[in-house]
Symmetry: C2
Subunit: 330 residues, 2 copies
Amino acid sequence: MKKLLVLMMVLVLSLSFIGTVAAQDDTPLKGDPDDEYVMVTFVSGIEYWKPAYRGMEDAAKNLGVSTRYTGANDYDINQQVTVLEQVISQNPAGILLTCINPDALAGPINRAMEAGIPVVTFDADAPDSDRYSFLATSNYEAGVTAANYLAELNDEKGDLGLITIPGQLNHEERAQGFEETIANNYPDMEVVSIQDGQSDQAASARAMGSMIQANPDLVGVFTTEASTGVGAATAVKEADMVDSIDIVSFDTDKGTLDYVKDGIIDATLAQGTWNMGYWGQMFLFHLNEGLLNPIGDGDWKEAGINPLPNYVDTGVNLVTKDNVDFYYGD
Amino acid sequence: MKKLLVLMMVLVLSLSFIGTVAAQDDTPLKGDPDDEYVMVTFVSGIEYWKPAYRGMEDAAKNLGVSTRYTGANDYDINQQVTVLEQVISQNPAGILLTCINPDALAGPINRAMEAGIPVVTFDADAPDSDRYSFLATSNYEAGVTAANYLAELNDEKGDLGLITIPGQLNHEERAQGFEETIANNYPDMEVVSIQDGQSDQAASARAMGSMIQANPDLVGVFTTEASTGVGAATAVKEADMVDSIDIVSFDTDKGTLDYVKDGIIDATLAQGTWNMGYWGQMFLFHLNEGLLNPIGDGDWKEAGINPLPNYVDTGVNLVTKDNVDFYYGD
């Protein structure tokens, strides 16, 4: 009986041992809950970052590691540099960062990388820094999507307008993708008017109003920013031209979604922010755990190469009356 | 004593039960070894696909799932369609596909997607199909990298040449990235000669020879393809101008690596093929296991949106004399 008891105890111990070893050996994609990965943003209280951090949390949960969210409260370069430097001094397992300014953050990013803390950027990059990868919306491709959808809605015929923010790179790229697609692919369509919406609802409403007056045959407009879209929508509604003028806007704040639900904005482009957070966390985990073998048995660090994809275009999805309900509360 | 034994048995049973449940609950990134993911290529025997499939195998090993490699033996559209249709009929867990032709493969891809088999493309896309995502080298960005490196080697001064394959989209894009970067960023540099290398070593050697004769001040050349680079290298060597003319080439076949090792080709651009396979497999696993929550609790299928990044630029790395040894045998 005593022998049986000893045997039992051995069995208990070896079972738990086997269990532990198996759990470790079989799952390199399972990390340490004590490893903390940090997301650093600017204007950190806005809704826009929430799906990105939700993506990061989802990935961390799947990987069994921890995350923390922080950032500069305001739109303030020095503030974000300070917050980032504080995070670096705490030696986290990795940093997922969106950059208020590419130049000001390059220094701290490179210091983190030298200290062995992997950095990946999302939404807004510091391209001249040593960061491993950048996940964001291709603004040019978003403009292409807007052009193709306005063409589809209007049987590839008619005059189009564009309300954007000249001089701001991301808006210039959205405008360029839109204009080039119409010029190259739709011979019976033309962008007849380009206005400055000044990122302001009232200014955009005025711009849209004068565009309608000057171009009576307008069939559609692309607004490269959310306030611009809401402004254009109020003007189109006021002019009683909801049926004849299609609007494609950008992002999914509540004001825009309400106009989509009402059918005044025909579609808005939702960015893949969840994917920025999810795959950004995946990339950081793989760096931290040494799971990347781009040159096989060779050490990529020694070879001086980047082991990760340089850039991920997280894409846009069309939000229309049909699927707008899915975007409330995101 | 008997009570103790019963207690022990309960302990053994509950420990193994807890172990099993924990292993399942804690690791959504662990799949079923019976789930088989398939890579489908064309000219399936060439070296070029090997790092991509190695990446897919590495990801599958980490995830605990199985993979299989297949493809058309030849450069034959009908053959690849047949192979792909056979794979679809076997109902695999997912397909990672490179497309010999975008139009011919769109039909089978869409049928696979309708049958619930996720498809992700790599290296060569079928952009008008319903595939979820595409992982590849941005050819434009590769051209930018070549331009910046030739500028760095020559203190941002001097005449440059370009040997490419006019009319082939990927080569046109590489050439465009190169030419635009020199024109926009380096006022003291100029692309003075553009030649057709015809994807042929001898033709490229002739093109390089006449380029040298016509442009005695040439400081560098970008060759957008491997045979072209080897041809250019032989011509530069023959003209005894190895020290004055820098060559940046493309890909990492043995002939190119040998010229890099000898210092005749100054750098070649290595594509991130391992990353195409690794993250392609990751994407397919996430689709198959229902791990993507881009709109939170909402069902992305019902919302009709793409849950994955649309495009991943796996990037290029510069292979020089310093790190060329890491690329042999890859």
